[in-house]
C-alpha cells in the first residue's frame, strides 16, 4: 500500500507542480516559503483528503470511550518514546535519553505493553524528539518550507528527518502486512482525532488558513528544537 501510494504520488506530484508553474511564478514574497504556489496546491489536496478523514476521526472520537482512546494513544506513544530516547542521545542529552528509556521499560513491563502510562505518574516526563530536531541541533537550517500531501507541513530539513523517522518506525517495520496496515490506519485516525479540537480555533482565528498553519508550524518547530525555551527575537521582530 505504501509502494502504491508512493508510485501514485510520483506520478501526481510532477503533474501538479507543472500545473502550478504554468500558472506563472506565484507571489514568492515570503523568503521562508519560496514554493508557495506548489504548497498551496498540496494544501488543497490535503483539505480534500480531510473531507474523508475528518468524519472517520470524529466517529472514532465519539464512539471510543476515553479509556480506550487513552490506551491507543499510550500504546503508540510508548513505541515512539524509544525513538525519542535515541534522538535525545544523538542530541547530547544523555539524562533525558535515560529518562525516556526508563519510560519505555516501565510502561512496557508495568504498563502492560505500553497500554498505561505509569511512567508519567511516576514523574518521568514525556519528551518528544524526532530526527528533524536532531539535525537542527547538529546545525542543519530549516531550508524552504513545504506542504506535502498526507504528511502535511515540513521544512526541507524536517522532510529529511521525517524520512529517517519513518525508517526507524517499528510500526512500518512490521512484516505482517495486514497488522501493519491496520496499526498505521489506527494511528493515523488517532492522530487526526487529537487535532479535532483545534479545527474550529484555527478556522476562526486565521485570515488565511494556509498562512496561519505555515506560521504556526514554523513557530512550533523552532520551539520544539529549543525544547520550549523562548527565542530572543520572538518579540522584537
Amino acid at each position: 500500500m505504501k509502494k502504491q501510494t508512493a508510485q501514485r504520488l510520483r506520478r501526481i506530484v510532477p503533474l501538479i507542480a507543472l500545473a502550478v508553474l504554468a500558472r506563472g511564478a506565484m507571489a514568492a514574497d515570503n523568503p521562508k516559503d519560496p514554493f508557495e504556489g506548489f504548497n498551496r496546491a498540496m494544501f488543497q489536496v490535503n483539505e480534500g483528503i480531510d473531507v474523508v478523514v475528518k468524519p472517520v476521526a470524529k466517529g472514532y472520537d465519539e464512539v471510543a470511550p476515553l479509556p480506550v482512546k487513552a490506551v491507543v494513544g499510550n500504546f503508540f506513544g510508548n513505541l515512539y518514546d524509544a525513538w525519542t530516547a535515541v534522538n535525545n542521545l544523538l542530541q547530547g542529552k544523555p539524562g533525558d535519553a535515560a529518562s525516556d528509556a526508563g519510560r519505555v521499560l516501565v510502561n512496557t513491563v508495568v504498563g502492560i505493553g505500553g497500554a498505561f502510562d505509569i511512567a508519567s505518574e511516576m514523574g518521568l516526563t514525556k519528551h518528544s524528539e524526532d530526527f528533524g530536531q536532531t539535525l537542527a541541533v547538529w546545525g542543519v537550517g530549516d531550508g524552504p518550507y513545504f506542504y506535502w500531501p498526507i504528511i502535511g507541513p515540513r521544512t526541507t530539513r524536517d522532510t529529511a528527518g521525517w524520512a529517517v523517522d519513518s525508517w526507524a518506525d517499528p510500526v512500518w517495520g512490521l512484516d505482517e502486512v495486514p497488522v501493519r496496515n491496520s496499526l498505521v490506519a489506527v494511528r493515523f485516525i488517532d492522530t487526526r482525532a487529537a487535532l479535532l479540537p483545534s479545527d474550529k480555533v484555527v478556522e476562526e482565528a486565521a485570515f488565511d488558513k494556509y498562512n496561519y498553519i505555515r506560521d504556526a508550524y514554523l513557530q512550533h518547530r523552532h520551539s520544539a528544537i529549543r525544547d520550549g525555551a523562548r527565542e530572543k527575537d520572538d518579540l522584537t521582530n
Binding site: 482512546k69 491507543v72 479540537p197 480555533v201 482565528a205 506560521d215 512550533h220 520550549g228
Partner: protein, 213 residues
C-alpha cells in the same frame, strides 16, 4: 466606651480588609494569578454543558469577565503588528487594539469550548521582586495525548501583572499574525489592516448562529 471603640476599630479594620483585598489580589505573584484565573474559568467550564458543546457566545462572556481584566491588549496588538506599529496614529492604534481584542477573545473562547476533561499542571516560576517580565508555564494533560505546553508572558504594571502573550505548544497566538499583518500593511496601509480585522470580526459575528456544526 472602651468596648465600643474597640468594636469600631475592629469594624473599620474588617472593612479595610475588604477594600484592600482586591488590590492585594491584583498584586499577586504572576504564577499565582495564572493559576487562580485558570481554575476560576475551568470551574465554570466543567459545569457548563453549553460551553462544552461549542457555545462560543457563552464562552466569550466568561472570558470577558474573568480573563480580560488581566490582559494587555495594546501590548498584544503592538507585538502582532510588529515594526509597522510605530507608523500608526494613536487613533489607529486604538482601533487596531479594539478589533484585535475581539478576534483574540473569540479565539481564546473557541479553545475553551474544546475543553473535555484535561487537567492543568502549573510549573513553578522562579522570579525575584525586580523582575517585570516573566513567562508562566503550564501544561495541559490528557490521558493518551502528549501534554500541550501553554505559556503566558506577563509584564508588571502599576495595577498588577498583565498577560501580553499566550503561547500554545510554542505557537504564540499573537506573533503568529505578524507576517499576515505585515503583508496587509505593505499592501493597504494601517487603515487596510484595520479594515481587514473589521471584516473578519463581522464575518465571525454573522456566522455565529451558523457555526454550531
Amino acid at each position: 466606651m472602651k468596648a465600643l471603640v474597640s468594636r469600631v476599630v475592629t469594624f473599620c479594620f474588617g472593612l479595610s480588609m475588604f477594600v484592600a483585598l482586591p488590590a492585594l489580589a491584583q498584586q499577586a505573584a504572576p504564577d499565582a494569578l495564572i493559576k487562580h484565573v485558570t481554575e476560576d474559568v475551568l470551574v465554570v467550564v466543567r459545569a457548563d454543558r453549553d460551553i462544552q458543546s461549542g457555545n462560543t457566545k457563552k464562552a466569550i462572556d466568561l472570558v470577558e469577565t474573568k480573563v480580560l481584566p488581566h490582559f494587555n491588549f495594546q501590548r498584544m496588538t503592538s507585538l502582532a503588528v510588529g515594526r509597522d506599529w510605530s507608523k500608526a496614529t494613536p487613533e489607529q492604534k486604538k482601533r487596531l487594539s479594539d478589533e484585535f481584542r475581539t478576534l483574540l477573545v473569540r479565539t481564546y473562547s473557541n479553545a475553551l469550548t474544546a475543553y473535555r476533561n484535561q487537567t492543568v499542571a502549573y510549573k513553578p516560576l522562579k522570579f525575584t521582586d525586580a523582575d517585570t517580565d516573566v513567562v508562566v508555564k503550564t501544561e495541559i494533560l490528557q490521558p493518551g495525548n502528549k501534554p500541550v505546553q501553554l505559556d503566558y508572558a506577563l509584564e508588571k504594571q502599576a495595577d498588577g501583572w498583565k498577560v501580553y502573550d499566550v503561547i500554545v505548544g510554542g505557537i504564540s497566538l499573537v506573533t503568529n499574525y505578524r507576517d499576515t499583518f505585515r503583508q496587509e500593511v505593505s499592501a493597504a496601509g494601517i487603515d487596510g489592516l484595520i479594515q481587514m480585522l473589521v471584516t473578519k470580526n463581522r464575518q465571525l459575528e454573522a456566522g455565529k448562529s451558523a457555526d454550531k456544526k
